[in-house]
């Protein structure tokens, strides 16, 4: 709490059901991305790099792995004396039954006691399943400069896609005058990124009022923000520029990985001034054999490549056998592609084995093939 008096709460309860088998056992924020990361590493590293010391992570769906993963705050340097990452699943309280989080706002409401122990001046609300780099401290500067009650990060999306998003209509000064959820005829292209800074004292009051409202969805977008606008509060949009991805589907997760193959990719994970931190694994560096071919690829430690890898992203400990081919694909941690197998335009889930000589995926498929179960070899 010493650095900027802002506490962050990461909403990480979502299942991400359009990621199908990838999220059967883990919540979406824990899904692997970019060779060595999990999606939640991005908001957590952004917090650490923005000088935020205390982060609450609100978990709900299949949270065992996510809970143990984020609890090790040292990975992101969030383990100093006044610092920490706190896992906050729904809990039973003396005056209420054990309940799930009923909505994004309710998840915060149910943890008012947690936030109060730190008594922050500002609270930052984040989503745990977006891939981007952002300096929240600069957003806080804007929040303060505007004397805002709430500041909402927005992304400029193509006008023709704006009807898929929650759109903020602002005046010349950036003050939000209207919020429209998925408007059929959008008036602006400023899409909400689900990143909010609130002045805590006010948000606390609003959450307490919202908790007892019968017709509320207890959601920031549907309830809290519209109420604030109705009340004539100072809400400002904060324009974000740069790489931002919400990887909701297998295709978009694959695409986000492929983006890393582009030398000019704005995400630039190689930037030493804004590192993305993650779990430290103890494997060897990767090894490329005498017969291997590796081109246009993103490869991390623990991989062994004896075959051909092109246009692909290989995660920790992925193994590619002799004469095997991995083309335009994503191999998640521990995937084994045995000798002679061919994988094309596929996303192969954690630990899956593609047997000898097996062929999966095809170059002209419309969608990316998700391979979530072992594939038997062909003799």
């Amino acid at each position: 709490m010493k650095q900027n008096n802002m506490l962050a709460m990461i909403l990480a309860g979502g299942r991400g059901s359009r990621l199908h088998d990838l999220t059967n056992k883990v919540a979406k924020p824990a899904v692997s991305y970019g060779g060595k990361y999990r999606i939640v590493d991005f908001p957590l590293s952004n917090c650490a790099n923005s000088g935020i010391d205390v982060v609450g992570v609100l978990t709900q769906y299949e949270s065992v792995l996510l809970n143990s993963y984020v609890a090790a705050g040292g990975r992101w340097g969030l383990d100093a004396k006044d610092s920490g990452v706190f896992v906050l699943p729904p809990r039973e309280k003396a005056d209420a039954d054990l309940d799930v989080y009923r909505g994004t706002a309710d998840a915060i409401s149910q943890n008012i006691d947690f936030i109060d122990t730190y008594n922050p001046e500002y609270v930052l609300i984040l989503s745990g399943d977006h891939i981007y780099k952002m300096d929240y401290d600069k957003m806080l500067d804007a929040h303060k400069a505007n004397s805002a009650d709430a500041t909402i990060a927005v992304l400029q999306v193509p006008m023709k896609e704006a009807s898929r998003f929650g759109i903020m209509n602002t005046n010349d000064t950036g003050r939000i005058i209207e919020f429209e959820e998925k408007p059929p005829v959008p008036k602006s292209n400023l899409a909400s990124m689900g990143i909010y800074i609130f002045t805590w004292k006010l948000l606390r009051e609003m959450l307490l009022a919202d908790m007892v409202k019968e017709d509320s969805n207890h959601d920031f977008g549907k309830d809290i923000i519209p109420t604030m606008l109705n009340d004539g509060r100072n809400l400002y949009a904060y324009k974000f520029e740069g790489y931002w991805k919400d990887v909701g589907t297998i295709d978009s997760l694959w695409e986000a990985n492929m983006d890393l193959l582009d030398a000019d990719c704005e995400l630039d994970l190689n930037d030493s001034s804004w590192k993305i931190y993650t779990e430290d694994v103890t494997t060897l560096p990767h090894y490329v054999s005498a017969d291997a071919v590796v081109k246009n690829a993103y490869i991390t430690q623990g991989c062994t490549i004896k075959g051909e890898v092109t246009g692909s992203v290989l995660f920790t400990n992925a193994k590619v056998g002799k004469d095997a081919k991995v083309i335009d694909s994503v191999l998640m941690p521990g995937v084994v592609v045995e000798d002679g197998a061919v994988v094309t335009r596929a996303l192969v889930a954690d630990g899956v084995k593609i047997g000898k000589g097996a062929v999966v995926g095809s170059a002209d498929s419309e969608n990316i093939l998700l391979v979530a179960n072992d594939v038997e070899g062909v003799e």
Binding site: G34, T282, L284, H286, Y287, V288, S289, A297
Partner: protein, 372 residues
């Protein structure tokens, strides 16, 4: 409480790695792309449940102490265990006084003398191998010997392991003598700088060495004690490298291009811990041609790499050809440069030269941070 505490020793004055050691002790040398040499001794201790470890700083300790940090990366309990650096006054005007015994003696009252563990394991900082020290201590305790020394039988002591010590054993594995390997014979039992003994005996030997000569090292006093004490050898098997000069450093790295050997040395059952640098994965571009090489994270590769080891965060531009080389972290090699049989030290930039070619039996060296 663990049965033993650990000490990681410095190398003696007879060992000097030309070039690289100007900047840091051998323990802090980058190894196999992402490790430091000392990670192997530290991990051997940690994997053997020995979590109180003293590390002799030696000269120029910045890089070593920075790497070790609090020691938490070695999976050592942060409350019960600890990593302690043993500093010593450096007699720079007369290096013969810079012995391991002198450092032990200086740290006797505050550190070594206070240890409650009944045994001590002393491991070297310039050697790479895996060994369960737990097994070594148990074998030692069961044998009733006073001191147990770890050794490795080699068939090429006439051309390698020069300046290492070797042990002469009787048939019962009793150590008769510890001597310098001068390369006179091919078959030798090379002493791996690793000792197990009772803590009391260790303290006694330090005192004895001090009274006999200010120049004595631990190896010398143990050698002198071979007659009166029961000193035994314990054979090590598997990969073993002793880094005593640039050639042995180069060879030690290159030998692990045999990936099966590397996987035997470093695996989930015997992890080798190191300090993470949080580098992103390595990016290969369309023109990359990489064969039979070990590549660390954070590199950008557009050129050709064969039979080489590339450290973290290296930039290898188009048309570059790297062969049979060890490239240390954060090196930049500009377009079209040819590098063969070189050890290129950290943070160097090869910008203007056309080629750097040496032979594998006498690898070349590019200094840390140099621009060529």
């Amino acid at each position: 409480m663990a049965k033993a505490f650990g000490i990681i020793n410095t190398t003696g004055n007879h060992i000097w790695v030309e070039g690289m050691q100007d900047y840091r002790p051998i323990g802090a040398f980058s190894f196999l792309g992402r490790y430091r040499v000392i990670d192997f001794a530290m991990s051997n201790f940690s994997n053997s449940d020995i979590d109180r470890i003293h590390v002799l700083a030696g000269s120029k300790p910045r890089s070593l102490t920075e790497h070790l940090g609090s020691g938490r990366q070695y999976n050592i309990n942060s409350k019960r265990g600890n990593v302690q650096i043993l500093f010593a006054d450096n007699h720079s005007r007369n290096s013969i006084y810079n012995t391991d015994i002198a450092t032990f003696d200086e740290n006797m009252d505050d550190s070594i003398g206070k240890m409650k563990e009944p045994y001590v394991v002393i491991a070297p900082s310039n050697m790479v191998f895996k060994q369960s020290f737990k097994k070594l201590v148990d074998t030692h305790a069961a044998s009733g010997a006073d001191i147990t020394l770890l050794y490795h039988s080699v068939e090429n002591a006439n051309e390698a392991y020069l300046n290492c010590d070797y042990v002469t054993l009787n048939r019962q594995k009793g150590v008769l003598e510890i001597q310098k390997n001068r390369g006179n014979e091919a078959q030798r039992d090379i002493f791996m700088g690793t000792y197990v003994m009772k803590t009391e005996l260790f303290i006694e030997l330090i005192g004895k060495a001090k009274t006999l000569s200010s120049m004595y090292t631990l190896a010398q006093i143990v050698n002198l004690s071979c007659d009166e004490l029961d000193v035994r050898g314990y054979a090590h098997e598997g990969y073993f490298a002793a880094i005593t000069d640039l050639k042995s450093y180069y060879d030690a790295n290159m030998a692990l291009l045999d990936i099966e050997k590397a996987e035997d040395l470093i695996n989930d059952d015997w992890p080798i811990y190191t300090r993470t640098n949080d580098s992103c994965p390595t990016q290969y571009f369309a023109d990359a041609e990489v064969k039979h090489s070990v590549i660390s994270n954070g590199c950008l590769i557009e050129g050709t790499i064969e039979n080489s080891i590339i450290g973290r965060g290296c930039i290898i531009k188009k048309g570059v050809v790297i062969k049979d080389s060890v490239i240390l972290p954060d090196t930049v090699i500009e377009e079209g440069i040819r590098v063969e049989c070189q050890v290129v030290d950290k943070h160097s930039k090869l910008l203007h030269c056309k080629e750097l070619v040496a032979a594998a039996d006498a690898p070349g060296y590019v200094r840390r941070g140099d621009t060529l």
